[in-house]
């Protein structure tokens, strides 16, 4: 299956040639590896407790559990009772799809310098989409900046991964970050609730709190991945410079000294800690990674921590 997908991916890239550099052979190999790792991990956990598989009125037997008062008698497994003398209730899988919304920050701050953060976000989104599609769930990709961009309608099935690739490859950076406006629009136009993975540097002029709260209050389950760039933390700036905000264009004359740089690093760390604290306080899954870390390492970290598709 994986080999077929890889071959198909190769053909697809040859055919379209779009995003070929971003989603190359090595990337596909990593996806297949992550898919295998993800499946092993899911299998080792309780079967039937994956978020995407609700236990309910399905036809396919899923498991037993003890009888509790109030359970429907028709679900009692009388064969087991006859053999073991214990009342167990049959459980059936409810075939309800899980919707995973990948909210990818495409603001200008993601493309500062060599666009490494945006590329990283694209790869990360593609990997998460691949895992999701491999689990037969539905995935949708929504780039955002000050407003919600054109979205990839929820897709299902592994073969849809190429649509995801094409869509991600077509994402262009620009605009300010306004999570409140973008996520407000998202919750209003999205009927099916699900997992909302926010991939962003969270450099939002108006803050991130309102945006994440919009998701929470509207029954979405936020999953925060914060991207940082080590070069932003250690800027090679010295002397008299004019700092220009890449999103707002606001400029500020400054004289950069090593002492000021140390303060900047401290401010940045404090700001990241504030975001992490905000997420933890609200039981929102939070991951922070540098774009210098390979994205597959981040994926493994996510798998180990749980919370995604588990």
């Amino acid at each position: 299956m994986a080999a077929d997908a890889r071959g198909a991916a190769r053909d697809e890239r040859r055919r379209k040639g779009k995003g070929a550099e971003l989603f190359d052979e090595a990337f596909m190999a990593k996806l297949e590896y992550l898919d295998i790792v993800a499946k092993k991990r899911f299998v080792s956990q309780q079967r039937g407790e994956r978020r995407s598989k609700r236990i309910g009125a399905g036809l396919e037997f899923a498991d037993h559990r003890r009888y509790s008062p109030g359970d429907d008698f028709k679900n009692i497994d009388w064969n087991v009772y006859a053999r073991m003398g214990r009342l167990l209730v049959r459980l059936y899988e409810e075939e309800e799809d899980l919707y995973v919304y990948l909210l990818v920050d495409s603001s200008a701050s993601m493309a500062v310098g060599d666009q490494k953060k945006l590329d990283y976000a694209r790869k990360l989104a593609a990997a998460l989409a691949y895992i999701t599609l491999s689990s037969l769930d539905r995935v949708s990709v929504l780039p955002f900046s000050a407003e919600l961009g054109q979205q990839l309608v929820p897709a299902r099935g592994k073969a849809q991964i190429f649509r995801v690739f094409d869509f991600l490859a077509g994402v262009r950076p620009g605009g300010q970050t306004s999570m409140a406006d973008a996520f407000k629009a998202f919750v209003h136009q999205t009927r099916r609730r699900g997992l909302a993975v926010v991939i962003s540097d969270f450099y939002a002029q108006d803050g991130y709190e309102d945006g994440l709260n919009y998701l929470r209050y509207n029954k979405f389950e936020p999953f925060v991945i914060q991207l940082t760039d080590d070069r932003e933390l250690e800027p090679s700036l010295r002397g008299d410079v004019m700092l220009v905000d890449c999103e707002t264009g606001v400029s500020k004359e400054m004289t950069i000294t090593p002492r000021m740089l140390a303060k900047y690093r401290a401010a940045h760390a404090e700001w990241c800690d504030e975001l992490e604290a905000f997420c933890k306080k609200r039981q929102v899954s939070y991951f922070r990674t540098s774009v210098q870390v390979p994205f597959d390492d981040l994926m493994l970290r996510i798998f180990r921590a749980g919370g995604f598709l588990s």
């Binding site: 500062v112 008299d240 220009v244």
Partner: protein, 657 residues
């Protein structure tokens, strides 16, 4: 505090210029580098903390300016080399400076320095000695040297200097193309030495020479503190001491050559004198070619002696000759000084004399004149005679014609009524006295003339009698000048009829005719004397125009010549034949032959004569370096450097400014 470097006004000017520039740079608004950041609010957090320190930032900026101004000030003061009383170089007391000395280093570049010994010329050896002298004296910073080249002229090549590099370069520049072909004018050199050393501390004249110059008196040598660094060894030299050529009047292709060849070898030598002819030749190489040889003559040269002779049978066509003497190849003696082996000579241009013979038909004179190649003869009867105009010489034989107009007259058998007063006749006169030194009597012998009858012409006081019989002049010259217009008539008078004597039968007759014509023509003036190299020449210049172009041998360089009052003035350093011409000359040129021919220069072996004191190197001067911090300016420089380093290390400007 006093300044020993730049003056206070100069220091203020420099400080104002650089300090003003520095302030201007600080006043100008700095164009900041634009840097794009992803999230400015983070920087805003930092800036908020720093707002309170903006005053300090401005102060820091002013402080930086003040530091820069201080650095400039320190550097400017250092330029003044300040001396602080009570701060004598951090307590360092400098030792007494070595005494001042002045050495006039003269290097002989005359012709004799071209003598080759041990594979190098004496000039090259002299340069090496001069370099050694400079090395020996320049360790004393107060020992100044002036390098002077000495040949026919004296040329200072440097000012007084202690710069060893410049002095060595000047020594290398002494006659860079080899020794000149000129004598040593030691008088001129000593005059310059006396002038240059006057009122100088520790004067001395060091002359690096082979001593091939006239002796210098001990008093004069002592006046300039002359010290000699001798170069040169004993060696054999053969050279041409004299070389002249003149043509015979009656043979335009035949020349008489006078030469003198001297040898200072210790034993007799066999040598050969070669003669070369080349009308286009200028340098030695233009002549010395086997195809151009017009004669060769074996010579037997005595030890330390000379031979001279006249060669009277050389035939060649052309106007330029070169002589070269070579020691017999079989003789082991080597000629160490080849420069004087060659001499040049110019042959004067031959002239065709226009002569008219006025007679009733004097066949003797007619025959004697017709055989002369250089005579253009016109015969006329007395009736046809129209005057002397158009002729170089008018011969009047037994005719009474008008001889009152200016001209040259050869009067044979003068007639009464002419310009001569005839007092009577003399029967059978016998020539008893002949002025053999007179040009007309050259090579003549008046024997067996058997004169039957001669006119007794009255003498005038200024007449020059060549031959006489008793008191009667038979052959004499007379020159008459018209006081009114300055015109001249010259007469040679033969006071008897040729047909009444045996003189036409005598071998002396044609010679007499030639001598008379030569006397009129004054041919000696046409003999071109060779000139000497290195001497200021002043020659009668026959060409029109004043802008003279001189072409000579390739190594002669650019020669300047100037025409003043019909004479051309020039001086050259190389032997050869030089062609002088002007634009107005229309292709004609005036050749000048230049030879060495200097007995002193040819005397290449050390001569017996006054012994000049030898030069001795002064004791070496050891000067210890001052402690580095003994100079205030060095301390100031160090402080300025420290300030720059501190400012650079502590202020951000090192990155963006």
């Amino acid at each position: 505090m006093s300044f020993t470097g730049l003056g206070a006004s100069e220091l203020w000017t420099i400080f104002a210029a650089f300090g003003g520039g520095m302030v201007l740079l600080y006043v100008l608004k700095l164009r900041r580098r634009r840097v794009e950041v992803p999230f400015s609010p983070l920087w805003a957090r930092v800036v908020e903390e720093r707002q309170s320190s903006s005053l300090f930032r401005r102060l820091k900026r002013i402080l930086s300016l003040l530091v820069q101004l201080l650095v400039i000030g320190l550097l400017v003061v250092a330029l003044g080399d300040p001396q602080l009383s009570g701060f004598a170089g951090c307590g360092y007391q400098a030792p007494e400076p070595p005494s001042e000395r002045h050495t006039l280093l003269m290097i002989d570049a005359s012709a004799s320095m071209a003598t080759i010994e041990r594979g190098e010329t004496r000039l090259e050896a002299a340069r090496a000695r001069a370099h050694a002298v400079i090395d020996d004296v320049t360790d004393n910073p107060n020992h100044r040297v002036m390098v002077v080249q000495v040949d026919a002229t004296t040329r200072p090549l440097t000012l007084w200097s202690n710069d060893a590099k410049a002095l060595h370069a000047a020594v290398d520049a002494v006659a860079p193309h080899g020794a000149l072909d000129t004598p040593t004018d030691v008088d001129d050199a000593l005059r310059l030495a006396a002038s240059a050393l006057r009122d100088r501390e520790g004067p001395e004249t060091v002359f690096v020479t082979d001593r091939a110059f006239p002796p210098v008196s001990a008093e004069r040598a002592e006046d300039v503190h002359l010290r000699v660094v001798s170069v040169g060894e004993v060696g054999a030299n053969v050279g041409i001491a004299a070389f002249n050529v003149r043509p015979y009047l009656d043979d335009s292709l035949t020349y008489a050559i006078f030469y003198k060849v001297r040898s200072d070898a210790d034993r007799p030598l066999k040598a050969t004198l070669f003669l070369y002819a080349n009308d286009e030749g200028r340098a030695v190489d233009d002549f010395v070619d086997p195809s151009r040889i017009v004669g060769s003559y074996a010579l037997e040269l005595p030890a330390h002696g000379a031979v001279d002779a006249v060669i009277d049978d050389v035939k060649f066509s052309g106007s330029r000759l070169a002589a070269r003497v070579r020691i017999d190849p079989n003789d082991p003696t080597r000629d160490v000084f080849p420069r004087d082996d060659v001499a040049f000579a110019l042959v004067p241009e031959r002239k065709i004399l226009k002569v008219q013979l006025v007679s009733d038909g004097d066949l003797f004179l007619n025959a004697a004149l017709l055989v002369r190649e250089n005579v253009d003869l016109t015969t006329k009867t007395p009736a046809e005679y129209a005057g002397p105009e158009g002729f170089d010489v008018t011969i009047v034989a037994g005719a009474d014609v008008d001889m009152t107009r200016p001209g040259n007259y050869f009067v044979v058998d003068p007639q009464p009524g002419g310009p001569f007063e005839i007092a009577g006749e003399v029967e059978e006169p016998e020539i008893d006295r002949v002025d053999v030194k007179h040009p007309i009597a050259r090579h003549l012998s008046f024997v067996d003339t058997n004169i039957q009858n001669a006119s007794k012409v009255e003498r005038l006081p200024k007449d020059e009698v060549v031959a006489r019989a008793g008191r009667v002049p038979l052959l004499f010259t007379r020159t008459l000048t018209n006081d009114d217009d300055g015109s001249v008539r010259r007469f040679v008078v033969l006071a008897f009829d040729l047909r009444q004597s045996l003189l036409p039968m005598n071998y002396a007759f044609p010679l007499l005719v030639v001598n008379v014509l030569s006397w009129f023509h004054q041919e000696e003036e046409g003999l071109l004397q060779p000139n000497r190299a290195g001497v200021e020449l002043s020659l009668a210049f026959p060409l029109a125009g004043s802008q003279v172009t001189v072409d000579g041998p390739a190594d002669a360089g650019d020669i300047k010549a100037r025409v003043v009052g019909g004479r051309v003035h020039l001086a050259v350093d190389r032997v050869g034949v030089y062609e002088l011409t002007t634009e107005e000359a229309e292709g004609a040129n005036f050749p000048v032959a230049i030879n060495l021919m200097d007995a002193a220069e040819s005397q290449v072996s050390p001569q017996d004569g006054p012994e000049y004191p030898a030069w001795e190197a002064p004791p070496p001067v050891v000067i210890e370096d001052d402690p580095w911090l003994s100079s205030v300016w060095r301390i100031l420089l160090l402080v300025a450097l420290g300030l720059v380093v501190i400012e650079w290390a502590t202020y951000h400007r090192r990155v963006t400014v």
